[in-house]
């Protein structure tokens, strides 16, 4: 009866997992970020020169990139979750999905470009 190699799963669990993992990642990265910026670097990263120097470290630049991608994904999934609660029609949901994808990709490209640009100043 249940020849269920491929089980019917809604889109729910996948996106939820993505939201959960990106969220967990954010908590970890933010913790590192706060510790580094506020405890190790006394006074915080403030001036342009400081920022540029900060991004010279490839580990930090990599971490910032991961942070950028997770935070964008998490924020958009979260907003989409709230919109889902408002019971959009299927057509509306399709538009929300497209919009979220476009905004997400745009934000990530913009962020990465910014990261590379700033890093290249050094």
């Amino acid at each position: 009866m249940m020849n269920s190699r491929k089980m019917i799963t809604g889109e729910g669990s996948g996106l939820w997992l993505l939201k959960a993992f990106s969220g967990a990642l954010l908590v970890i990265i933010l913790a590192i970020h706060l510790v580094v910026n506020h405890l190790v670097y006394e006074g915080g990263v403030m001036s342009w020169q400081d920022v540029v120097a900060y991004y010279q470290n490839p580990v930090i630049a990599g971490m910032e990139a991961v942070f950028l991608i997770s935070v964008t994904a998490h924020a958009l999934l979260g907003l989409r979750g709230i919109l889902l609660d408002l019971q959009p029609s299927d057509a509306m949901l399709a538009w929300i999905n497209r919009l979220c994808t476009v905004i997400g990709i745009a934000a990530i490209i913009y962020g990465l470009w910014l990261l590379l640009t700033v890093a290249s100043f050094g």
């Binding site: 706060l34 342009w48 979260g78």
Partner: protein, 128 residues
Amino acid sequence: MNRIFQKPDNAIQWFDPRGRQLGYLAFILNRITGMGLALYLLLHLIMLGKLAQGPQAYNSFIETVHHPVFLFGELLVIFAALIHGLNGFRIILNSFGIGVEKHKPLFTVLMIVTLLCGIYFAVRMIAR
């Protein structure tokens, strides 16, 4: 008979804590901080664009941001991030079946951590 009381207009009721317990408060906080942080993310990304415009543009921008109003805003963001992050951590744990029975004390502990961390940052910020 056909008056369905479920509708998007009810969204305001999400934020009504009257008569509700701790878990619901967590939900309200999570939702509000989530929306706040998303807005901040947007502004933050735009703001960081100044970096690409060179040292003058960025540093003068930073000067204006040193105004106490913005510092207070930054503190709010730190608080929101702590609340949202730690509460989210709790929800993830619960969803993996961990600590479900203890979700309320867990929330209380995490919010105490939030408060302590928040106060620490606030004190440092004022000290500067």
